[in-house]
Amino acid sequence: MAQIDLKDVVKRFGPHLAVKGVNLQVRDGEFLIMVGPSGCGKTTTLNMISGLERPTSGEIAIGGRVVNELEPGERGLGMVFQDLALFPHLTVYENIAFGLRVKKVPQAELDQRVRAAAEAMHIASLLAKRPAQCSGGESQRVALARTIVTNPSVFLMDEPLSSLDAKLRVDMRTELKRLHERLKSTFVYVTHDQAEAMTMADRIVVMSKGVIEQVGGPLDIYRKPASQFVAGFFGTPTMNFLAGEIDARDGTLAFASRSLREPLGDALPPSLAGRSIVLGVRSEHVEVGRGETPGRVQLIEPLGNESLVFFEFGGDAPLVAKVDAETRLRPGDNLTFGFNPAGYHVFDAASGARLN
């Protein structure tokens, strides 16, 4: 049993409030990813779970036991650090054995467990080497082997893939997910990379400025972001945002700005008429060649299977649309576009909260 409960957890560094009262339950065996921009408090939250930081107030429980006063080593967890933190003066074998040695595990058992962990991470041939002699991917596996060897019920990972090159990072994602399937332990993983969060997580926690913006499954967060911040953080390219207000002139609600007027359907209560809003539309819901609004192409970004078209239409910022890879559009071409109303995200202009 390794459920983690955070109750009103606050962390203050001098005058700076890094984490402003976080309430979160990490279910047993779950792969939970905390994601957010630098300085949003995700790593601080992770460090409070690990015990490297003490919460200023609030309660942290692992497996039902309050751990606020326990040392990191007494919490029964394993951690992989951003720069891996392998001991440079020890061999791979001794790095993996470290956690067992400090717990005075008998030599025979230690040797057997180190070799089993190395075997599991496919690094048995590296045991005699020093970390400096290992490649980036190998070091990553050593760090994982060092963590799994102590059989922790909770794995904490602080941006462990950030030092790898793009290709290796994608491979390691699959590997981590497989490791989670096999171990069935609770994983808490911190990253600023939304793609990592989307691909690996059972649930995602989006943080910003020390508070949780949204908790949910990857698709929930993508399809129904709770705030403009979450909407902008997830998805590539970034969601299109149009500032305007809700207009109720013809009896139905519509989005109106200087250059656009789009009916919003009946997803919103009529009481919102006149409210300043931000309309969010993902690039896949911008339909080029469908509607009647004219625009002019600025830039084409081919992605291979499809292309991104950046065009301006008289609004504050250009829009981006996903189109077929075979598009004939060229910069400077004129086009017409419309929106798919199914992809509307309506946010309050002042608070950023979702309205529909």
Binding site: G73, G78, A85
Partner: protein, 329 residues
């Protein structure tokens, strides 16, 4: 006056004053192939003047029979006579042995104290800058002042004896330790003054070592359940090895030349019981005027110390190469 006129004035002035020769020399020096050699030539000239020539002269003098209170014209070549005299002089060997004893004791204490102080200060959060400044003061004080201060501290009824009195009396010893006139106490008087002054340096070296320790490694060890003691022995100490080697090499090289506290505190006494090799050399040359004897002794010392320094540098290069390899990734 406009700016153009101001900047023109100095450009024409030197040529006009030093004439065509000066202009020619200036132009020759300004050539790319000449100009880039100027710094090298300057360094080489200084090197030859202050190192090579005195060194060759020392070798030459070491083969002469010459005392400075006689005219140089009476000096004559004596082959290896001086070398034989040095190597058979028991005073030379006992001064050399005592120097190793001083250096060994002083450097050991300096390393231990500097290490502990650095460890404590590295963990301090508040007032760190103040502690560092205070702990570096001894190193910045002129050795003559240190020596003078210690002669006052060491007097029979001085503060050191007063502070030690409760302990010396408890052990049934005479509380008036004769720091500067007892043969054994005088040696420790010299050692302790050196320790007081140079612990600052080892402290500084270790402090930089401690601040360079990657915080994440300690965190990783903590999460794996290592105690503070295990973290120290298994993580911090091995990673500080290069700093330890640097401190040992630098301090040992310096301590083998120990001179100031000997002159200022004991003048090598009582008798010759606190003479270091540097003091012995100085006394032979400048008190007994045995210039050629001193020259031979310094050549012998040069050979002995060169071997030690070579060994020290070998240790240094080896350990920094090891760390370089480890940090390469």
């Amino acid at each position: 006056m406009s700016e153009a006129q101001v900047s023109q004035a100095p450009r024409t002035a030197p040529g006009a004053r030093s004439g065509s020769f000066g202009r020619g020399l200036g132009a020759w020096l300004a050539q790319e192939r000449v100009f880039r050699l100027i710094p090298f030539v300057a360094v080489e000239v200084i090197f030859v003047l202050v190192i090579i020539i005195p060194f060759l002269l020392t070798i030459y003098i070491s083969f002469l029979k010459w005392r400075a209170n006689r005219p140089f014209e009476q000096a004559y070549l004596s082959g290896f006579g001086n070398y034989q005299a040095v190597l058979t002089d028991p005073g030379f060997w006992s001064a050399l042995g005592r120097t190793f004893y001083f250096a060994g004791a002083a450097v050991t204490l300096e390393l231990a104290l500097g290490f502990v102080l650095a460890m404590l200060v590295a963990r301090t959060v508040r007032g760190k800058a103040a502690y560092i400044t205070i702990l570096l003061v001894p190193m910045m004080i002129v050795p003559v002042v240190v020596g003078y201060n210690f002669t006052m501290l060491y007097i029979d009824s001085g503060p050191i004896n007063q502070l030690l009195a409760p302990f010396t009396q408890a052990m049934g010893l005479d509380p008036r330790i004769r720091w500067l006139s007892d043969p054994v106490a005088a040696q420790w008087a010299v050692i302790l003054a050196d320790v007081w002054q140079w612990t600052s340096l080892t402290f500084l070296i270790f402090l930089s070592g401690f601040s360079a320790l990657p915080r994440q490694l300690v965190n990783a060890a903590r999460v794996m359940g290592a105690s503070a003691w295990q973290i120290f022995w298994r993580v911090e100490l091995p990673l500080l090895r290069p700093a330890i080697v640097i401190a040992v090499v630098i301090r040992a090289m310096e301590a083998l030349k120990i001179f100031d506290p000997v002159v200022l505190l004991t003048a090598g006494g009582p008798g010759t019981s606190s003479q270091s090799i540097a003091f012995y050399l100085w006394e032979q040359v400048w008190v007994f005027n045995k210039f050629s004897f001193g020259a031979a002794a310094s050549i012998i010392l040069l050979v002995i110390f060169a071997v030690l320094i070579f060994f020290g540098i070998w240790l240094l290069v080896r350990s920094s190469a090891a760390v370089g390899r480890e940090r390469a990734a």
